[in-house]
C-alpha cells in the first residue's frame, strides 16, 4: 500500500469497524448476562448494567442438571477422540503402506463416507439405534463417530511421506509393525494428529444436531442441548439468564482460542486446504 497518511487512517478505521462487527455481539452478550430482566427490556439499550448480577450465572447453571450435561459432553467428545485415534491410525497406515487386494475399494468406501453428512442419515441411524436399544445413551452419541474418513485421509497423506528406508531399518532391527506405528509413524505425524484432535474435539463439543436427535432425557443430554433448553424456563424468554448460560458455553472455547489461536486456525485452515 501507498504510504499516504490518509490511507493509513482509513485503513485503521476500516479495521476498527471490522473488529466491531465481530466483537460487539459478544460484548452485548456479556453485558446482557449481567442485567436484571427489567434492564434487558430498556430501549435504547444500556451497555453497562447498574449492578453486576452474578446470580444470573448460578440461575442458569441451576436451571437444569448442568454438571451432568458438562460430564456427558466431556465423555462424548473425548470418547470419540480416543476411538478415532484407535481406528484411524492403523487404517491410515494400512492404506499408506500396504499393497493389498481391494485396497482401492476400501479406500473408496472411506472417501464416500467423507461425502455423507450426518444431517442426511440421522433418520435411518436413529431407527437402527432404536432397534439396538441404544437410543438416549452416550453410545448413540459416540459410536457413529468412532472413526473418521477425514482423519484417515489426512493421516494417510502424512504417513506416505515417511521415507521407506526408515521402516526398512526398523524392520531389520526386528521391530514389529505395532512398534513401527507407535515409534516412527505417530511421532512423525504428530502435527497432523494434533490438528485433527482439535478439529474433532471442537466439532463434537459444540454439536447440537446429533444429541438433539438421539437423546430424550437429561441422562444423556450434552451441554449445547442443555443450553438450548434454557429457553423453556418460566415460559417467557429471560434474555439475561439465556445469555449467562451461553456465556458458560462460549467462554471456555474462546479462552482456549485466545491461547492456542495459531494452532486452532492452522487446524481449520489446513483441514480446509488439504
Amino acid at each position: 500500500m501507498k504510504k499516504n497518511p490518509l490511507w493509513k487512517v482509513l485503513n485503521g478505521i476500516g479495521l476498527l469497524i471490522l473488529i466491531t462487527i465481530f466483537a460487539l455481539p459478544f460484548v452485548w452478550m456479556i453485558s446482557t448476562s449481567f442485567k436484571t430482566l427489567g434492564e434487558t427490556m430498556v430501549f435504547p439499550p444500556k451497555w453497562i448494567p447498574d449492578t453486576l448480577l452474578w446470580e444470573n450465572f448460578s440461575k442458569a447453571w441451576n436451571s437444569g442438571p448442568f454438571l451432568k450435561y458438562f460430564f456427558n459432553s466431556t465423555i462424548v467428545a473425548l470418547g470419540i477422540l480416543v476411538l478415532q485415534f484407535l481406528t484411524i491410525i492403523p487404517a491410515a497406515y494400512a492404506f499408506a503402506r500396504y499393497k493389498f487386494k481391494g485396497s482401492n475399494f476400501f479406500f473408496g468406501v472411506t472417501m464416500v463416507t467423507l461425502m455423507i453428512p450426518t444431517q442426511l442419515i440421522f433418520l435411518p441411524v436413529y431407527l437402527q439405534m432404536s432397534a439396538w436399544g441404544l437410543l438416549d445413551s452416550l453410545w448413540a452419541l459416540i459410536l457413529p463417530f468412532a472413526s473418521s474418513a477425514f482423519g484417515i485421509f489426512l493421516l494417510r497423506q502424512s504417513f506416505k511421506q515417511v521415507p521407506e528406508e526408515l521402516l526398512e531399518a526398523a524392520r531389520l532391527d526386528q521391530a514389529s509393525e505395532w512398534q513401527i506405528i507407535m515409534r516412527i509413524m505417530v511421532p512423525m505425524a504428530k502435527p497432523v494428529l494434533i490438528t485433527f484432535a482439535m478439529f474433532s474435539f471442537i466439532a463434537h463439543w459444540n454439536d447440537y444436531f446429533w444429541p438433539l436427535v438421539m437423546t430424550t432425557t437429561d441422562a444423556s443430554r450434552t451441554l449445547p442441548l442443555g443450553i438450548s433448553k434454557l429457553r423453556e424456563v418460566d415460559g417467557g424468554v429471560a434474555w439475561n439468564i439465556l445469555m449467562a448460560g451461553n456465556l458458560i458455553l462460549v467462554v471456555p472455547i474462546l479462552f482456549v482460542f485466545f491461547f492456542a489461536q495459531r494452532q486452532i486456525i492452522r487446524a481449520f485452515v489446513y483441514t480446509g486446504v488439504k
Binding site: W28, A91, T110, Q119, L127, I227, V250
Partner: protein, 289 residues
C-alpha cells in the same frame, strides 16, 4: 510377520466397520424406506413404489422447502465468498494488528451454533435488539427480523455469512500466499494496473480455492439445521423451512418415516451431483502448475 496377508485387513477393519454400520448401511436403509409407507410404530412397512416420490414432488410445502433451501444456499455462499475474497485481499499482510483482526473474524467459527443462534435471536429482537437500535440511529424503524416471513430467511443468511466469513477469509489468505511471488514481479515490471493484475492473475490462480469453497459452502448450506431449529422453527409460515429441517419434522413430529426418507434420498442426490461435479472439475479444468 505371523499375520501375513491378513494384517492390512485387520488394520482397516474397525474403521470400515464403523463406516459400514453408520454411513453405508443407513444410506441403503434410507433408500429402502423411501419406497415404503411407515409410521414407526406399526410393525408393517407397506411397499408403495414411487408413491412417496410423486407425492413429495406434488407437495406445495416441499416445493417451498426446496426453494428456501436453494435461495438460502445461493445467497449465503455467494455473499460469504465475495465478502471474504475482498477481506482476504485487504487483510493478507504481516503484523500483529492483522493477525488479531484475522483471529477476531474467525472466532465465530469455533463457537457452538446454539450460542450463535441464541445470540443473534437476541440481537435481532424486534423491540429490544441491538440491530434495530443501530438501524434507528440511521432513522430506520424497527425491523421484525425473525417474525416476518419477508425477512426471516434473509436473517438466517446474515447469521450464516457472519459466522462463515472468517473461515473463508483465512482459506483465501492461505490461497493468496501460495501464489508464487515472481509472477507478481513480472506483472509489476509490465506496469499492469492493480485491477488488471487481480482479474488476469490473482483470480485465475485462486480458482481452485474459489471452487473448493463454493462446493463445500453449497454442500454445507444444503444441510442447514441448527439456526432454523433454534431461531425460527421453520417459520413464520414455512418461510425458513429447509430440507434437513423438513426431514426432521416429518420423521420426528409427524412420524412419516417413508416420506422423510424420500426427502433424504433427494438431498442425497443433490449433494451427490455437486460432489461428482467437484471431483470432475477438480481433475480437469481448475488445475494450475
Amino acid at each position: 510377520m505371523s499375520l501375513g496377508k491378513a494384517r492390512p485387513y485387520l488394520m482397516i477393519f474397525p474403521a470400515i466397520l464403523v463406516f459400514t454400520l453408520f454411513f453405508i448401511y443407513p444410506i441403503g436403509y434410507m433408500i429402502y424406506l423411501s419406497f415404503h409407507d411407515w409410521n414407526f410404530i406399526s410393525p408393517d412397512k407397506n411397499y408403495v413404489g414411487f408413491n412417496n416420490f410423486t407425492a413429495l414432488l406434488q407437495d406445495a410445502k416441499f416445493m417451498q422447502v426446496l426453494r428456501n433451501t436453494f435461495i438460502y444456499s445461493a445467497l449465503t455462499v455467494s455473499l460469504t465468498i465475495s465478502i471474504s475474497l475482498l477481506l482476504a485481499l485487504w487483510l493478507n499482510r504481516k503484523g500483529a494488528m492483522y493477525g488479531f483482526v484475522q483471529g477476531a473474524i474467525f472466532s465465530p467459527h469455533i463457537i457452538s451454533l446454539v450460542s450463535i443462534s441464541m445470540l443473534w435471536m437476541w440481537l435481532m429482537d424486534t423491540d429490544y435488539g441491538l440491530l434495530n437500535w443501530f438501524l434507528n440511529l440511521f432513522g430506520i424503524s424497527n425491523v421484525p427480523w425473525l417474525t416476518n416471513p419477508k425477512t426471516s430467511l434473509l436473517s438466517l443468511i446474515i447469521v450464516a455469512v457472519w459466522k462463515g466469513i472468517g473461515y473463508y477469509t483465512l482459506i483465501f489468505i492461505a490461497g493468496l500466499q501460495s501464489i508464487p511471488k515472481d509472477i507478481y514481479e513480472a506483472a509489476a515490471l509490465d506496469d499492469t494496473s492493480k485491477v488488471r493484475t487481480f482479474f488476469k492473475l490473482t483470480l485465475p490462480m485462486l480458482s481452485p480455492t474459489l471452487f473448493f469453497l463454493t462446493i463445500i459452502g453449497l454442500i454445507g448450506s444444503f444441510q442447514v439445521f441448527e439456526t432454523i431449529s433454534i431461531m425460527t422453527g421453520g417459520g413464520p409460515i414455512n418461510s425458513t423451512n429447509t430440507i434437513v429441517y423438513y426431514i426432521y419434522e416429518n420423521g420426528f413430529r409427524f412420524f412419516k418415516i417413508g416420506y422423510a426418507s424420500t426427502a433424504g434420498v433427494l438431498l442425497l442426490g443433490i449433494i451427490g451431483v455437486f460432489t461428482i461435479l467437484y471431483f470432475r472439475l477438480l481433475s480437469r479444468k481448475v488445475h494450475y502448475q
